[in-house]
């Protein structure tokens, strides 16, 4: 079963400053945590892909109209709801997907305190089940 584990910008517990304001060691610890998790999932044969998206500043919303399409440039007032990135995993059960999501939610923030970021877990639709 494939699952998308989606991460959004603002959905963290408490008030966390942007990463550029963290202590450098905390930034490094967070990056290491994410890379280690990817490596572990790859080793276990569970990682399909891990991708990050460019920031809200570069986001655009496009809407077809009768004339030229309407393009709204970011950042938007609701930027915190924007998708920041995802992991796609291929696992045996939904429980395992939830376990991975919980791990990823624990990524360390300032002073090593877990960020407790909300991770949205969505199963990817596949071919006809047998």
């Amino acid at each position: 079963m494939k699952f998308m584990l989606l991460q959004h910008y603002g959905r963290v517990v408490g008030d966390v400053p942007p990463m550029t304001e963290w202590d450098p060691e905390d930034v490094q610890a967070h990056i290491d945590f994410q890379l280690d998790l990817n490596e572990e999932l790859r080793e276990r044969g569970e990682l399909v892909e891990a991708q990050g998206l460019t920031g809200p500043e570069l986001a655009k919303i496009v809407l077809a109209t009768d004339g030229a399409p309407l393009v709204t440039d970011g950042p938007f007032p609701e930027s915190k709801e924007l998708l920041a990135g995802w992991r796609m995993v291929d696992v045996e059960t939904e429980e395992r997907a939830i376990e991975i999501a919980a791990r990823s939610s624990e990524g360390p923030g300032p002073n090593g305190v877990p960020l407790r970021q909300e991770i949205e877990v969505r199963q990817v639709m596949g071919p006809i089940e047998r």
Binding site: M19, T20, P24, V27, I31, D32, L35, T54, G55, E57
Partner: protein, 411 residues
């Protein structure tokens, strides 16, 4: 059948080296580029299946040409509309022996026709000239194999529609055709050189492939200094590969790289290739960029870098290939020679042309940091991190910003 079974990598190398010669021979004989390319791929698949068990033939290229030609004949027979053309081609005189390098270069020109998009040219060159499979190319560019297959098929249709006879373009046209071809080779190199997370051999191979093809192009066009310039630029840049990222793919900037990891042999060769190109006259942008790379490569420590020479080279580069990116780099060199304020002044002139580009902010941040303006540098590094589309670069810029925030007194 002679020689015993070869190692897998050895067989792959052999096939890929043979690929352009085989394709050139088949295109020359049958004229149809798209079908010939399919036939050669099929012959290579046959070879990869049969040779490990049956042994490599004594003349691998001849074997592949024979098998691919047989496939072409089968296709043509199956297609009665083409019969007349088959008969016409059968009586055409042999065009005489061409060197393998000329054949490869002619194929590169064919794959890099100006009406193709660069992405299409890159994919087609890797398959038709580099002998990579569609699956390998798809893996290198992280797109599904079917998507890459369609991209290559459409590119082949465009080449077929141009109906250009096989061979090197006329000398009058050569310069115009060389420019997009060199741009595609450089793009392939950069795709391979760009750092990415985790074990990613498929991409590293692209850089090696670009160097191999550029070497062949240089053999075919020894009098074109920009071909040598491009080869030198690739060698002198690739020489730093091992030092450029850490084990995890995190970027290490030039001034903090462990220079003992640089490839001295590649630097020496790049230097030789560059001097030969420069001696041939007509200095162009690739030669100048190679000269700048060499100036960095020659410094044993970052503080030994001859920034005055680099600044002069950027001045020349702006003369032959002006552009905001070159101006940006010249601003950095200016700061290293005349101090950060001089660099910032120059940057202020260039910045409006690159509004919203992360490099402007990254450079300004660097210069502000050199000038001792920690708060300004922090804001600019943060802005650059928001605007970059490269993950390793974003991590690097975020860490630089964080380091400055940490040294600042907290409120």
């Amino acid at each position: 059948m002679a020689a015993g079974p070869r190692r897998r990598g050895e067989l792959e190398d052999l096939l890929r080296e043979a690929a352009p010669r085989v394709l050139a021979a088949v295109v020359r004989r049958f004229g149809d580029f798209a079908d010939s390319e399919d036939a050669v791929q099929e012959a290579m698949i046959d070879a990869a299946r049969q040779w490990p068990a049956q042994g490599t033939p004594e003349n691998p290229t001849g074997w592949l040409i024979a098998v691919a030609s047989r496939r072409m004949t089968d296709r043509i027979r199956a297609d009665s509309a083409r019969r007349a053309r088959e008969e016409r081609l059968a009586v055409e005189p042999d065009r005489g022996p061409a060197t393998a390098a000329d054949d490869t270069l002619a194929l590169i020109f064919m794959c890099c026709r100006p009406e193709l998009t660069q992405a299409s040219s890159v994919a087609l060159t890797l398959r038709a000239v580099g002998g990579l499979s569609t699956a390998q190319i798809a893996a290198a560019f992280l797109v599904p194999e079917k998507t890459m297959g369609r991209r290559i098929a459409r590119a082949k249709q465009a080449v077929a529609a141009a109906a250009e006879p096989f061979g090197l373009p006329a000398p009058a046209e050569r310069a115009a055709r060389l420019r997009p071809a060199l741009a595609v080779l450089y793009l392939i190199f950069n795709e391979g050189y760009a750092a990415s997370e985790g074990p990613d051999l498929a991409r590293a191979e692209l850089a090696a492939e670009a160097i191999r093809l550029t070497r062949i192009a240089r053999l075919a066009l020894p009098a074109e200094p920009e071909v040598g310039g491009l080869l030198a630029l690739m060698l002198l840049t690739d020489a730093r590969r091992a030092a450029r990222t850490d084990r995890r793919g995190e970027l290490i900037p030039l001034d903090r790289q462990d220079r003992s990891l640089w490839d001295a042999a590649a630097i020496a060769e790049g230097g030789r290739v560059l001097s030969e190109a420069i001696a041939a006259g007509a200095v162009g942008p690739y030669q100048l960029q190679a000269a700048i790379a060499l100036a960095h490569d020659r410094a044993r420590r970052a503080e030994d870098t001859d920034w005055a020479e680099i600044l002069a080279l950027y001045g020349l580069l702006e003369g032959v290939a002006p552009g905001p990116m070159v101006a940006l780099n010249r601003a950095v060199a200016t700061a290293m020679v005349d101090g950060p304020q001089a660099g910032l002044d120059l940057l202020a002139e260039v910045a409006p042309r690159l509004e919203g580009h992360h490099r402007v902010h990254a450079v300004r941040a660097h210069l502000l940091e050199l000038a001792g303006d920690g708060a300004g540098a922090h804001a600019e590094y943060s802005r650059a991190a928001e605007l970059t589309a490269s993950l390793p670069e974003q991590r690097y810029l975020t860490k630089r910003a964080a380091r400055l925030a940490a040294t600042r007194p907290r409120l």
